[in-house]
């Protein structure tokens, strides 16, 4: 009788076609009845999907690396992280707004809290809010998504409390606009034209409105720091903004600004994984050119 093990069969996968399960007869062994292989297949369906085992191994490798480096960082290991110009310019942007006596505008993207870019944006918003509280600069955070609005309000309130300036906080700093993409864009561009903020932070998930927002902000003379992982929108931000956080720089922003060891450790683990992926791609390409698709098949996910 074939041992099914922990994996079990996958429906429609390659492996169950290759296997030919023997069909023993029923028999009693020490009072227990062993059923046929088919009946066992029905009763003891595997827990893990064997067609995604390779992805699970990669996932566990990644998690292990990140957690190991977080642990090392917490024990006092010094971790280097390269300079990110866009994040270093946050101080400059808020300082400019303070000197000019104008506001800082911070649209945190148009997607909800289930989007990683929004969470990354809120991390930067907390840092910006602390600076505006410290320098008594006006902050304006218009929101498109209601969940993001609620989280952004909490983030800004906590930042002002942490800076010891609860007197400067009021609920009008973070406000909800509308759920429609272009109605939101019209509102934010209207704020830019009427109130002419000195600094615009376009950090988060943006789509078609990215160029509208960036160009309008550029036309008003504001210093603009953008950041998104939407590949299609990056060229617009790069052309129209002074600084752009590209992809992983946005996700690293929270760790970069807080300098918390645990967060820096996760960046290190991520970088090691990226290096490993790079080595894998080069090796697999060379092997493919030599006629071997082994490495490519190894990480193909069904």
């Amino acid at each position: 009788m074939e041992t099914m093990g922990f994996l079990g069969p996958a429906r429609g996968g390659r492996r169950d076609q290759a296997r030919a399960a023997p069909v023993p007869s029923d028999r009693d062994v020490a009072g227990l009845t062993l059923k046929t292989a088919e009946a066992m297949q029905m009763e003891t369906m595997g827990f893990l999907n064997p067609d995604r085992l390779n992805a699970l191994v990669l996932f566990l490798f990644f998690c292990t690396l990140v957690l190991v480096f977080i642990s090392l960082a917490r024990r006092g290991g010094r971790l280097y992280i390269r300079k990110i110009a866009g994040l270093n310019a946050i101080d400059e942007a808020v300082g400019r707004a303070t000197e000019l006596g104008k506001k800082v505008l911070y649209p945190p993207g148009i997607m909800s809290l289930d989007e990683n870019q929004t969470i990354a944006s809120l991390a930067v918003l907390g840092h910006v809010a602390r600076m505006t509280a410290r320098y008594n600069t006006e902050l304006d955070v218009p929101n498109k998504d209601p969940l993001t609005f609620a989280a952004a309000r909490e983030t800004v309130k906590e930042a002002y409390m942490a800076e010891g300036r609860p007197d400067l906080y009021n609920d009008r700093l973070v406000h909800y606009v509308t759920y429609d993409q272009f109605a939101y864009t019209a509102s934010v561009t209207g704020i830019m034209v009427r109130e002419k903020p000195a600094a615009n932070f376009l950090i988060g998930s943006f789509y078609a409105e990215s160029l509208l927002l960036a160009e309008m902000g550029q036309s008003t003379g504001a210093i603009q720091i953008a950041g998104t992982a939407e590949i299609a929108q990056l060229p617009f931000f790069v052309c129209s903004c002074d600084y752009t956080l590209i992809g992983e720089e946005l996700y690293a922003a929270g760790a970069y600004l807080s300098r918390e060891p645990a967060q820096l450790g996760s960046i290190k683990g991520q970088d090691i994984t990226k290096a490993a992926v790079g080595v894998y791609i080069i090796t697999a390409t060379i092997l493919l050119l030599l006629g071997s698709g082994f490495l490519r098949r190894l990480l193909t996910i069904e």
């Binding site: 992982a229 990056l234 996700y251």
Partner: protein, 230 residues
């Protein structure tokens, strides 16, 4: 209080993060996990629907305050509230099918309900107007960005020029009908451009995975309004 404000949200976040990840690696036979994942997606939609009420209340409050105090731009606030209340009235009455408001779409005889009229003849043209601004902003961004200030900008300028010519019939016309520019454009989009995009995507995907892991294990708490680990 600390449990409700910090520990419970972190616990819920960890569960909400681990269930979909587990569902990806678990076979379809483990129906309980897949069921939980499907349920979580439905709960998200329900919570988002309630959250919209929060947003609407905020919009109404802030605009009423602006009108009461006659702040700068208060007529626009009045106009916004009129539109909000008008469409809400037509939508609610139409959903309840009261009187002349029979639905929120088209009537069986092909006519438009008041809600559909507002959406089709007021809202959609305004959306299209905003979207059409992209063409003009694209031109102004290109005019400003495509200048030969340095080596990288010159490469960008040449590449942009070739792609623009390759995408329009004029490019083929100036070469006497030869599709060289179109093929060059396709090659540039399929090879160097795609390679660069994939490189950025790999980095971004790993960054997102790292951030997700930090959120699940509770190291990243910015979305709770808590900055440092407490």
């Amino acid at each position: 209080m600390r449990f409700l404000r910090l520990q419970l949200p972190l616990l819920l976040t960890a569960l909400a993060g681990l269930i979909p990840i587990s569902a990806f690696f678990i076979s379809e036979n483990a129906t309980r996990v897949v069921w939980m994942k499907d349920r979580l997606e439905k709960y998200m939609i329900i919570i988002a629907s309630f959250a919209i009420l929060l947003g609407v209340v905020n919009v109404v409050q802030s605009n009423i305050r602006k009108i009461e105090r006659r702040q700068k731009g208060w007529p626009y606030g009045a106009f916004l509230l009129a539109g909000l209340l008008g469409m809400a009235f037509c939508g609610i009455m139409g959903a309840a099918r009261i009187g002349p408001f029979q639905g929120i779409g088209y009537t069986p005889d092909g006519g438009r309900t008041p809600f559909q009229y507002g959406a089709e003849f007021m809202f959609s043209p305004l959306q299209a107007t905003m979207f059409s601004l992209l063409a003009f902003f694209m031109a102004s961004a290109a005019f400003r960005a495509f200048r030969a200030r340095n080596v990288e900008a010159t490469i960008l300028l040449v590449a942009a020029g070739l792609v623009m010519l390759g995408r329009i019939p004029f490019g083929e016309m100036i070469l006497g009908g030869h599709p060289f520019l179109a093929r060059l454009t396709d090659w540039m989009m399929d090879w160097p451009n795609a390679a660069a995009q994939r490189g950025i995507m790999i980095g971004a995907a790993l960054g997102a995975a790292s951030l997700s892991l930090r959120v699940i294990v509770g190291i990243e708490r910015s979305f709770l309004g808590v900055e440092k680990s407490e």
